[in-house]
């Protein structure tokens, strides 16, 4: 194998596939990046066996030569060393050559690295995905779907299925749900091309976080392919594979109350900041619990009290308060997470009593829903 490549393109692709590489692997070859040069270009692959990322660098793009392939072939190079080296090379082009054995020479200017490689034949094969059922989403919408749900996945391995986001496709609608059993985030979106049949899979939250970092905020269409135990996201020159979580995702639809006893509409940013302040004196441990009380005249009070530190209270004018009076306590963190995920300037919160889950929605957007369980303090 030998090719000469533009350094910045190589650096970019190495950074992409590095997101799948971990040094904490029990499979030594997965600490490496697989590099394959063929006639069309160079492919880099990184994997931690849960996530696999493949980045392709074509020999030319918009009539600019990016890679000159001298001899096709493949090699696996230690990801950390290779990444550090290409980032710090002195010139704009890099010459990479595999000698006999797996010795690899990396030349740029007067700097010459001789790196011990590994046999690319030993590198695990990527999952084979049959592409009979695919659908497409713009990259920015996909990033938004992830951002608005993934924060609510469970971080505990007690119920592994809850560490993932449930992704359902029904006709022309995509539904993403995440819950850690104390709160739930849901977001729906229309998909353009109608899908035959329906899917319900669970994608690990970690995979979606990594995917989100790789996607640009553009309307470039990302193709999704779902199989029994893998999902594949295809962008231009980039393939992102993730394993799926096994098991049945709980039916969350019956958790969501239909009725409402108290309904508060409030300016999202003011409410968020008041809760943030009230939580300052409630930070000991993880129970950063704040209390919300409805007062007369459409005013709500946000407060907290930790006797050994002090107490805080703040009054806030709501847009409207309808229904019964209410005193309720909740995790400030959960409500702040939910408010940050909802993009609306005004939000409506529907309560069905101090002991029952409550729902936060954007006033003008019904594609998103955040559900939170209160904390019992009375």
């Amino acid at each position: 194998m030998r090719f000469i490549i533009q350094r910045d393109r190589l650096v970019h692709s190495v950074q992409e596939v590095m997101k799948a590489v971990t040094s904490r692997t029990t499979i030594p070859i997965l600490t490496g990046i697989k590099i394959t040069a063929v006639e069309d270009g160079v492919t880099l692959t990184g994997s931690d066996s849960d996530i696999s990322i493949q980045s392709f660098i074509p020999i030319e793009e918009e009539e600019n030569e990016i890679v000159e392939i001298k001899q096709s072939g493949s090699i696996v190079l230690n990801a950390r060393f290779f990444g550090d080296i290409v980032r710090k090379l002195p010139m704009d082009t890099v010459d990479i050559e595999v000698l006999n054995g797996f010795q690899t020479i990396i030349r740029s200017g007067k700097a010459e690295f001789n790196l011990n490689g590994l046999d690319a034949e030993e590198y695990p094969h990527l999952p084979i995905i049959e592409e009979d059922q695919t659908f497409k989403l713009p990259a920015d919408l996909l990033k938004t779907l992830i951002r608005q749900t993934v924060f609510a996945v469970s971080t505990s391995e007690t119920r592994p299925i809850l560490t993932g986001v449930n992704l359902k496709v029904e006709d022309d609608e995509l539904i993403c749900i995440a819950t850690d059993s104390h709160r739930l985030a849901m977001r729906k979106a229309k998909i353009d091309n109608k899908v035959v049949g329906s899917y319900s899979v669970v994608i690990p939250g970690k995979s979606l976080n990594e995917l989100s970092k790789l996607l640009d905020d553009t309307n470039e269409l990302i193709e999704m392919v779902i199989t029994e135990n893998q999902v594949l996201f295809k962008a231009k020159n980039l393939l992102f594979f993730s394993r799926l979580l096994e098991g049945n995702y709980p039916d969350t639809s019956r958790l969501i109350p239909n009725e409402s006893k108290t309904s508060i509409t409030v300016h999202s940013k003011d409410f968020l900041q008041a809760i943030d302040r009230a939580s300052l004196l409630a930070k000991e441990g993880k129970n950063n619990v704040v209390k919300l009380t409805t007062l007369v005249g459409g005013v709500i009070e946000v407060s907290s009290n930790t006797p050994e530190i002090g107490k805080v209270s703040e009054e806030l004018q709501a847009e409207s308060i309808e229904g019964e009076e209410l005193k309720i306590s909740f995790s400030a963190k959960f409500v702040m997470d939910a408010l940050k995920a909802l993009e609306g300037t005004d939000i409506t919160i529907n309560f069905t009593g101090a002991m029952r889950p409550f729902i936060i929605r954007s006033l003008h957007d019904d594609t998103m829903l955040q559900l939170i369980l209160p904390v019992r303090t009375y």
Copy 2:
């Protein structure tokens, strides 16, 4: 005590004194910030008993009212909570009032915090500094002196005296020296006002790092006052106290060789980058050792070799090589630290053999010197 203050000025002063506050203290009251309001303004104090910082906010500045003192007095408030609170308050002004006992009310807009304070009488007194001998340095020069030496202090407590920077004043010259016994950094500077007598004190490296963060890159004159066991730096509205390290600093003058067997002049940035690249494959453990070899034609080779990973070599055209041929090995980190501290574009390195310390100087500036001990590999 009660005063109304501009929030941004309070936030700024809290951030300054917070640099001295640590949560890991055995003296509970030192987790707090002492706030004192008198007729002239408000003083905040933070301390970890090694470093003490006092920040003063005058009632007015350039005819703008900053503080309105309603009632003088003092209180100690938990630094973390108080810092978080003032940073997140909703309005531009803050009303702070101590009620009977040590209950403190912090009001801003409709937010009201009630924080448990501590008795300011219990807060340790700051050192009393007699100001018979003082001298002044511009803030930017003081920052440079710190930056060019403090990185070379020892991080090991084996010889505590080496964790500080030796600061000597003789007539109109200030000399800063730091060494961890493997390398040494020295910087001299003229001071304007002549000092009677001579000083030699050792200031903890940690103190200087914190001081450096507080100083602006301006030519504002900073006044230094040295006493037997304390040093005080005085800036506008800011006092910075540090204890001094006890003991005699070693005489380092005899470590610095006068003769030279090989002298290399090279472009600093090219040399730094070549060493950085050579060190990439030598990073295992702390022995990131690289080798320098003089070749014919004024060329130097920088290389390293770690058999299990690979090897790297790079040739570099020196401006000049004078004297004997040389092969020497050294810590890439130490040489890179030294090159970053020296600001010159061209540097001269004087060697007296592969086993002896070598000296790096800026070609056109003799106020700085960096000495490094080589590593024996032959």
